[in-house]
Symmetry: C2
Subunit: 372 residues, 2 copies
Amino acid sequence: MSGFQFTLLAQDGGARRGTLTTAHGTAQTPAFMAVGTAGTVKAMTADQVRTTGSQIVLGNTYHLMLRPGADRVAALGGLHRMMDWPGIILTDSGGYQVMSLAKLRKLDEIGVTFRSHIDGSSHHLTPESSTAIQHKLDATITMAFDECTPFPATYEEAAASMRLSMRWAARSRAAFVPREGYGQFGIVQGGIYPALRAESAAALTAIGFEGYAIGGLAVGEGQAAMFDTLETTTPHLPIDQPRYLMGVGTPDDLLGAIARGVDMFDCVIPTRAGRTGRAYTARGVFNLRNARFADDASPLDPGCACTLCTRHSAAYLHHLFRCEEMLGPMLLTGHNLTYYQALMRGARDAIEQGRFAAYAAAARDGWRQGDD
Amino acid sequence: MSGFQFTLLAQDGGARRGTLTTAHGTAQTPAFMAVGTAGTVKAMTADQVRTTGSQIVLGNTYHLMLRPGADRVAALGGLHRMMDWPGIILTDSGGYQVMSLAKLRKLDEIGVTFRSHIDGSSHHLTPESSTAIQHKLDATITMAFDECTPFPATYEEAAASMRLSMRWAARSRAAFVPREGYGQFGIVQGGIYPALRAESAAALTAIGFEGYAIGGLAVGEGQAAMFDTLETTTPHLPIDQPRYLMGVGTPDDLLGAIARGVDMFDCVIPTRAGRTGRAYTARGVFNLRNARFADDASPLDPGCACTLCTRHSAAYLHHLFRCEEMLGPMLLTGHNLTYYQALMRGARDAIEQGRFAAYAAAARDGWRQGDD
């Protein structure tokens, strides 16, 4: 099935510059995907998400199957129409949230039985049902159903978990209905063990997907172990297909992973931090609740093009958080996403121009003024 | 001092169509002012407030003097610049909130001493300090400092309270610094007693203000008593100056008050209701949390131009409120304000064309499909 196409435009060391063409438009990579868990990027209208430069929104199968329900989303015309996001949508498989949020989980070869964290109702997720739900949601990119291997895990535990995920990946692929411009990604597992990552990558590429995700990272192993794992994993993935590092990360994580050949990211950091008063800026991370911002008439991030930075002072944002006004999270979420997208845009330009290492070094240098 | 000018363009029965020209632009009346208590219309960016058709934003002196503080707002360039609202801003005097929110109040001829409901700190408000604070906030329209007479009140209680407010009105006027395009409104008090309202109106017009508010209504007296009081009060106010009914009201209240000669309104109803899932529409009021909206793929209010009604289904809004997503209050606040402003725009057109009574009757007829 054609119409879903990744094109590698340039390489700069390990860093890659590409385009991903789909039924719902084209994304420039490296790309950061805004997390829209329950059919909304929290505290943002769809227009505001577009204004940040976000090209892809991620939806969570676990949340959406519980509320409003996949059949209901389908009846409302799919997730694109429901949330006013005609652009690319990637949905996860639900496997990660089942393990982190649901109660009374029971996992076997068939899949996972669990109780909703919202109302205790019983549900079953399998590779087949997860894939069907993502189809009903009308995800541009469907993720294979996998088990996110806990950390720490012994080699044997990681191997058993990964091999189960590989059997589920084959079942997910069999359940996927190819449609013009739609794609499905397999997920490499294997913990921090290079041999297992290689085995997983080989298993997935033998099945054949439109892209490959790297899962089971950013679960407590630390940045160094994450980067090591990326370095031993990406060489096993096809050069002409997109690579997606799931659930990562800080701006520094993103630059490090781009250098190691990753094309796509998603993370709740910019949106969650936006709701708690943590600002990601070219000068580093700042806690806007800090009293030193109370009289700061300057913009939070002078180089930023967002509504917050072009229209308001840091003192106003401080005031909004102090008064627990909803506009604080709204403006800061918009800013944080704008910063993340500007960082990605800068990375894309730098890769095209063969100066990615210098770009990343300059960005890291700028962050040193921050709180942490 | 010129530059602050009300022009009466048309009359239709008691209803008036005018323009209010100020240092911060012109408003068309009848006008509904969006409430921006602490320097933000809750759940809305300034751009979104503009998109609703709102021409004037109201700020609360009590809230702003406590946080972020009047001197700080002044240092940040005033309220217009702080909140990105270069348009008209009206600030109340703080008197009403002192009585409804503050603790340990002590009222005497000089003013009110109170403790902040936020941190218990002690503050003093007088006609002079309230006027000075509103100057620091850079309010286009300053309100005289008054005591909002409680309801019920005997004739003697209402008379004593009103006469104190009239002495405070004279002191407020003396403290007001005239500036080109800025104005100050006196506030008619007197409870539900026509003779006291007439006495109050005479006292205020003798002092002379750029406009006159009608205070102490919508405090429990009921719509019929409120309308009766308006009918006996507005004839005592100058025909060529704006009249502002404070803290009112429902769409039906607004149409009834317009018919009785009121030009300006403010009320938390559309914004507060927007945060709790209550929708004001041409078909009446609906509770969007109601399960009957779960599968409603149609827009909430098909004739409405807001983001919610043009981009999303009622089912999506129901989903957002069910999941307590911030986007629910954001979208519904925008809708409710858009509805209020469309109702005002329709009223202005109808008055110009001499068909206000028919317009109001048709609007009331439409509301009958609502929940309440």
